[in-house]
Symmetry: C2
Subunit: 131 residues, 2 copies
Amino acid sequence: MTELFPTAPDTHALEHGAVLAPRFDAEGLIAAILQHAETGEVLMLGWMNAEALRRTLETGEVWFFSRSRGELWHKGETSGQIQTVVEMRIDCDQDALLVKVRPQGDGGVCHTGARACFYRVVEAGGLREQP
Amino acid sequence: MTELFPTAPDTHALEHGAVLAPRFDAEGLIAAILQHAETGEVLMLGWMNAEALRRTLETGEVWFFSRSRGELWHKGETSGQIQTVVEMRIDCDQDALLVKVRPQGDGGVCHTGARACFYRVVEAGGLREQP
């Protein structure tokens, strides 16, 4: 799958080149942060393999690779929470993606019903729910 | 190392419990998104092992585990780009952290000199630098 994208020939090309050369991990995955394009809220962290990334770029909707189910996952296909891509960015060493999205459906992303997955604050005594 | 934190007994405790029970991956790591506490800009994605997470919680400054160097990494110790923790959140299934920070030093996080690591936009033709 990873042959869908080239490998950067050197560090300079990786960090400053104009060629998308994502570095997938040992399992063929790259982390993708979803951020709400308007509010700036960080919504969730998901994983893409090369095919999910290709489909995301091609369709303008977020595709992931579900690690638990071991299959491609068109985010929102069953829940309605389709994530429309407004902008995609990649980091300096091309091993993380930042995807600015406009959530469709009920406007959320989380399977628990929360708007975003990061609904708990870590405090000294434990976790506290705070949307 | 991972014995520093408990394991959630079931899905309900994992997703709705008040106990911090981070799920580290096969390499003992958890992804940590750094977001600027004031501007909302997503700055970088790093990795913490249990000890890095413990130190981050204890000191209020971000510690990572460097995968390339294979060692604990007090972010900013050499660069001056210390990341002061304003708030830490964990996601629904406790395998990703969102850390809202106030960057010290020159106000940036990236080793390339860019303010944030996501300085390139992915476009049809390739990558375009845009801070």
